[in-house]
């Protein structure tokens, strides 16, 4: 099934491969960024919506 991608790209595999390459690079970059994030920073960020002085209105 996936063979047809390459078959039909006739001579234009460059587009496909370089596109994948760019994405892979970008994905790794984000991955590294994520791994380097500190735990308490993550915790702080994820609790941002809950930090408002909420009351019981409407619930």
């Amino acid at each position: 099934m996936f063979k047809q991608f390459l078959d039909q790209a006739d001579g234009n595999q460059g587009y496909l491969l370089s596109s994948f390459g760019i994405f892979l690079l970008f994905f790794l970059l984000v991955g590294v960024l994520l791994l380097r994030m500190k735990k308490d920073e993550i915790k702080y960020m994820s609790e941002l919506p809950l930090k408002e002085d909420d009351d019981e209105r409407g619930s």
Binding site: F26, L33, I42, S46, L48
Partner: protein, 703 residues
């Protein structure tokens, strides 16, 4: 230092009201066009209410009026709270609100009048396009202004989605709206044929991505934790899927053009990235659903959460189905059928609709400082809405498979089993009836919600300005030394962020579009393809005005089942003078790419006057007014000049004799009709339409 300030709830309320009102309008129009498909009389015999003209009204109303207002409602409420700041400017908020409603009203007036560019989900003519641009900029200034004066240093992930939405929609809208105006409400896209198709579907697909998806994911990341009273399942996942989503989405547009004349490498790229798209999409869905871990008991009792859960699940289903539909083998059957319509509505009714309803049920009581009027009615809304989605989608899936397979079926002798297209339509008409029932159920739910929310509003009182307090952020410019630099980077973060997401979304678009625009070999020219005659050009514009493209494609894919039925498959070089392209995306009627010469002029005349006389059982509405209305030839000169500016090789001075040529050709057609006992003046619109239809696909047709 603690600062006192007020959140602006009035603007949120206004957008909420607009969401509800336009939601009802847009869905009612949807129901009307759904009924037109099994009862042509519902076209009401008027040109202003025919399917071709009001189907764009439905799509634009639900996307930009219903969902659009819901986005602004969701953003204006959550942005203020996440940043601990009132919106940047009350005046800008007001201009944004009223400007957007004005755009909607202008759209609702112009589309039924037939003033359309024909680009799907961007049918509005150029003055409205400019209006959209201006109001979008107002929204952007208001949003970034708020971000800059924030009291919370960090930007929560929801805001990332809002920023990506703003940036990308701006880019999409501008690139897809580059038109050459020839009058106050008529313009031609500067792109032609294959390039125009690529731009349109790059835009169309990413309108789904950045108008229907990213802002809603942002809203999910804010409202779901609020409703469930627990943080999002994985913040890291939200970051990873955010960047992957906006990166990959932008590449996927060409999956709308599989097997067409688009260069195959671009198709392959589109398919590959569409398949990859499932990962970040499901990242979002999983993150949403797992946020409710340990809170499922709440879901059982709380209709709001039920809406959220079904909404997110619908997102998961639609984003699983999307990559599947992008596979060429599946696309070969599904494309042009109701399968696509079903797919879209699982996303629209389930994801966008249900999330909007859940948020409305949560938000309205809050800003009115009261409790929801009736939980039971909300629960009823949930169940009738869910039933509505099922009744909508299942029959259309069935219709899609059935028709897609019927189009491809051959007899043992090697002939098409259903050579008459109409036969495949009549087969699925009962499914259209069921779909309309589904739509009715869904709309009923919305009306019940409206009553419930109105009662809630009447019971409470709007807290127009909600008091809040927060620590001010330390002023950056007073910082000294090395610290100064660090703080300045932080302060600039939203701008850096915007630029970063802009770069990310530009990569895909550039790689896919640039070669198609710049490398000639991608669109081989065909010497026998000539520009349209003035009469054909006028006829083409009537074809655009009537929205024929909403039901008829002009793109024959290279399958035996299609070349047998319609003729030679379409070549890229045939469309080089088509500003805009009219390939279409749905075949409610047959393809018209090789219509030229297939029938006589008289057949077309009779068929347009009353389709049922020529094709008994046809669901096409009659177009009597084409016979009554005189063709406006005052525009011919401007049209020829505009086309020449866009690169169509009309000889110099041709505009001076264009109308003479037009009349000559019209007289020939009316004379031919007279021989068939049809008396019609040569200056009527129908003559131009017939001229255009008879030209279609004849340039490379084997004589």
């Amino acid at each position: 230092m603690t600062e006192q300030f007020h959140y602006d709830n009035k603007i949120v309320r206004n957008f909420a009201l607009a969401t509800i009102v336009w939601g009802i309008v847009g869905m009612t129009v949807g129901l009307l066009i759904a009924m037109q498909l099994f009862k042509p009389a519902m076209n009401m015999g008027s040109q202003y209410t025919t399917f071709g003209r009001i189907r764009p009204l439905h799509t634009n109303a639900v996307i930009f009026a219903f969902v659009g207002n819901a986005i602004f409602m969701g953003v204006y409420y959550s942005l203020q709270r996440l940043l601990k700041a009132r919106m940047f400017s009350d005046a800008l908020s007001k201009i944004h609100f009223w400007g957007w409603q004005l755009i909607i009203v202008a759209t609702a007036i112009t589309l039924p009048l037939g003033l359309t560019t024909s680009h799907e989900y961007a049918e509005m003519e150029w003055p409205i396009d400019i209006g959209i641009t201006l109001i979008w900029v107002v929204f952007g200034i208001n949003m970034f202004g708020t971000i800059l004066k924030r009291r919370e240093k960090h930007m929560y992930v929801a805001i990332w989605f809002y920023i990506a939405t703003f940036v990308t929609v701006a880019v999409l809208h501008i690139v897809n709206s580059i038109e050459l105006p020839i009058s106050a409400f008529k313009s031609y896209y500067i792109y032609a044929g294959v390039q125009d198709a690529l731009v349109q579907w790059w835009y169309g697909h990413n309108a789904v991505a950045f108008f229907l998806t990213t802002p809603y994911l942002g809203m999910m990341y804010y409202y779901l934790p609020k409703m469930a009273d627990r943080p999002i399942y994985s913040y890291k996942l939200s970051i990873l899927h955010f960047w992957s989503l906006i990166f990959i989405y932008i590449w996927a547009g060409p999956h709308h053009l599989l097997y067409t004349s688009l260069p195959s490498w671009a198709q392959s790229l589109g398919v590959a990235f569409s398949v990859m798209l499932i990962a970040p999409s499901w990242g979002g869905m999983i993150n949403g659903l797992l946020t409710l871990r340990g809170a499922w008991d709440k879901v059982r009792e709380d209709p709001k959460l039920k809406f959220m859960v079904v909404g997110i699940t619908a997102y998961g289903m639609a984003t699983f189905e999307g990559p599947m539909l992008a596979l060429k083998q599946i696309n070969a059957i599904a494309h042009y059928t109701d399968w696509i319509v079903a797919h879209v509505h699982v996303g629209a009714l389930g994801w966008n609709g249900f999330l909007t309803f859940g948020i409305l049920y949560w938000l309205i009581p809050r800003i009115y400082n009261t409790a929801l009027y009736s939980k039971k009615l909300a629960s009823f809304h949930f169940w009738i809405g869910t039933l509505g989605i099922i009744f909508y989608a299942v029959p259309l899936y069935f219709a899609g498979f059935t028709q897609g397979l019927m189009w491809k079926e051959f007899t043992p002798e090697g002939l098409l089993k259903y050579p008459n297209f109409l036969e495949t339509v009549l087969q699925i008409v009962p499914m259209y009836v069921l779909r309309a029932i589904g739509g009715t159920l869904y709309l009923t739910g919305v009306i019940v919600m409206t009553y419930n929310l109105a009662k809630t509003m009447l019971a409470g009182k709007l807290v127009a300005n909600e008091a809040a307090e927060a620590q001010a952020l330390p002023k950056v410019y007073v910082a000294q030394g090395a610290e100064k630099k660090l703080h300045r980077i932080l302060e600039r973060k939203p701008m850096v962020f915007m630029v970063l997401s802009l770069i990310v979304i530009l990569i895909g678009g550039m790689i896919e579009m640039m070669p198609t625009f710049t490398i000639k070999s991608n669109i081989p020219t065909i010497s026998s393809v000539k520009p349209y005659t003035p009469l054909e050009l006028q006829g083409r514009d009537i074809y655009i005005r009537e929205g024929c493209v909403n039901c008829h494609s002009q793109m024959i894919r290279p399958f035996r089942s299609e070349t047998e039925r319609y003729g030679e498959y379409s070549k890229a070089g045939e469309f080089v003078y088509d500003h805009p392209f009219l390939w279409g995306s749905k075949r409610t009627g047959p393809d018209l790419q090789r219509e030229g010469g297939k029938y006589g002029n008289a057949w077309h005349y009779n068929h347009l006057y009353d389709p049922q006389t020529m094709s008994p059982g046809s669901i096409m509405p009659p177009y009597e007014w084409l016979i009554e209305q005189k063709l406006d030839t005052t525009t011919t000169r401007a049209k020829i000049n505009a086309m020449r500016t866009l690169g169509v090789p009309y000889e110099n001075g041709f505009e001076n004799k264009a109308n003479r040529r037009l009349e000559e050709q019209a007289l020939l057609i009316s004379a031919d009709l007279k021989q068939n006992n049809i008396k019609v003046k040569s200056d009527r619109e129908i003559i131009a339409v017939i001229a255009y239809l008879q030209r279609l696909g004849t340039d490379i047709k084997a004589k």
